[in-house]
């Protein structure tokens, strides 16, 4: 029987590639997404299509009330920055950071993994092109992995430890795209833009769009989605 894994799936390029990697390693994958009041609600439709296309055994979408907590351009009525240079992106934590988001996401993944009897969690975080989010760094992943075993029955009953896989963490966006393409990920199903246009095209100017476009250009591949700019 294949080992089960819980894979965090946003509907974006990185998490789709991560799901493809987990599947290629033989895991039976349980994809987990969140409806948290994000402005870019299109993501969830993409997550459903990606989960189906990549053969997830189950896809669970949980609602979270992160809007009630606030503190981010992704959940509040704060303008998403446009057209920023790589240097501007690299300077500090951007306002699209959602406080403690990956901790909250991984906590739910841990709960589901414990119920499923899965010891493996996958998350598509990435330090190189990650726009300076604190909860995308290796130290954070290692600290969560340590916490996970202590937080659950595994820590009391001395059963196997949890592992948190972050297979993209040290890759550039171009390397991620090449890897996904080799695993036959259909990037036309994925969604990246923080601020989609009314006509459903990606804006092409937010940090997420800029990083994605740069990644496809550097990978020498064509991005199948349409951009407004």
């Amino acid at each position: 029987m294949p080992a089960k894994a819980v894979v965090l799936l946003s509907g974006g390029l990185d998490s789709a590639t991560t799901l493809a990697i987990a599947r290629s390693e033989g895991y039976e994958c349980y994809a987990l997404s969140f409806e948290y009041g994000q402005r870019h609600g299109r993501e969830l439709g993409s997550a459903r299509r990606v989960a189906a296309a990549l053969g997830a055994t189950k896809h669970l979408v949980l609602r979270l009330e992160l809007r009630a907590i606030g503190g981010s351009a992704l959940t509040d009525d704060i303008a998403v920055p446009k057209g920023r240079s790589a240097a501007a992106m690299a300077a500090g934590v951007p306002i699209t950071y959602v406080p403690a988001r990956n901790t909250i996401f991984l906590s739910h993944a841990l709960a589901w993994a414990e119920v499923l009897g899965a010891a493996d969690l996958f998350i598509g975080v990435n330090v190189l092109d990650a726009s300076g989010y604190p909860d995308c760094r290796q130290e954070f992943i290692a600290a969560f992995e340590r916490l996970a075993t202590l937080a659950t029955k595994a820590g009391v009953e001395g059963r196997s430890r949890f592992r948190v896989h972050a297979p993209l963490i040290a890759l550039s966006k171009a390397e991620i795209i090449r890897l996904g393409a080799a695993l036959a990920v259909d990037y036309g199903l994925t969604w990246t833009c923080y601020e989609p246009q009314a006509d459903t095209r990606a804006c092409g100017l937010c940090d997420a769009c800029l990083l994605r476009k740069k990644g496809f250009a550097e990978a020498g591949l064509t991005d199948p989605i349409a951009y407004a700019a």
Copy 2:
């Protein structure tokens, strides 16, 4: 200006005492509760009354979809054990354990603290009378505290560390009750029972009731709430 703290508040005896302690230490307290499909929904009414009585600056109740994850007698249709001996309670993790619950709760507390500019989180966990929950142990609290700073802007920008206060962790239930009584906590406002009766009395037989009754008896104080048994 007093320092702000986020205090997890279930409406039970332990978290009410914890809020009273945080207030007595001078913190401006932001109380956080969750509606997670728990069977004992009376807790939330108690949490509101306790937050008001103890002078919380704000009380936020967030919905979580833990029922969709399952795995616990507190969220699923699994019978809550009744009339267990202390020895039976001490043997292993009980089915009232909710997978990764305290990790999920603390993650949200961390998010809110980051938005509020608070560096202090309070949680009323307790190892002695805690029914064997893995996420009530000191190792877990220490691991979360370490994670918290890495997970947030504090970890990137080198600002002050988060502290997770668990002031009850090494106290007996009787010691907690004596401490709360000294801080004028009205335990008549709190709710403990896992399975309240139709007439609103506590069942008196679930692990939580048994531990509470034993605590009041050992403290030599009268429990102001009514029990069916």
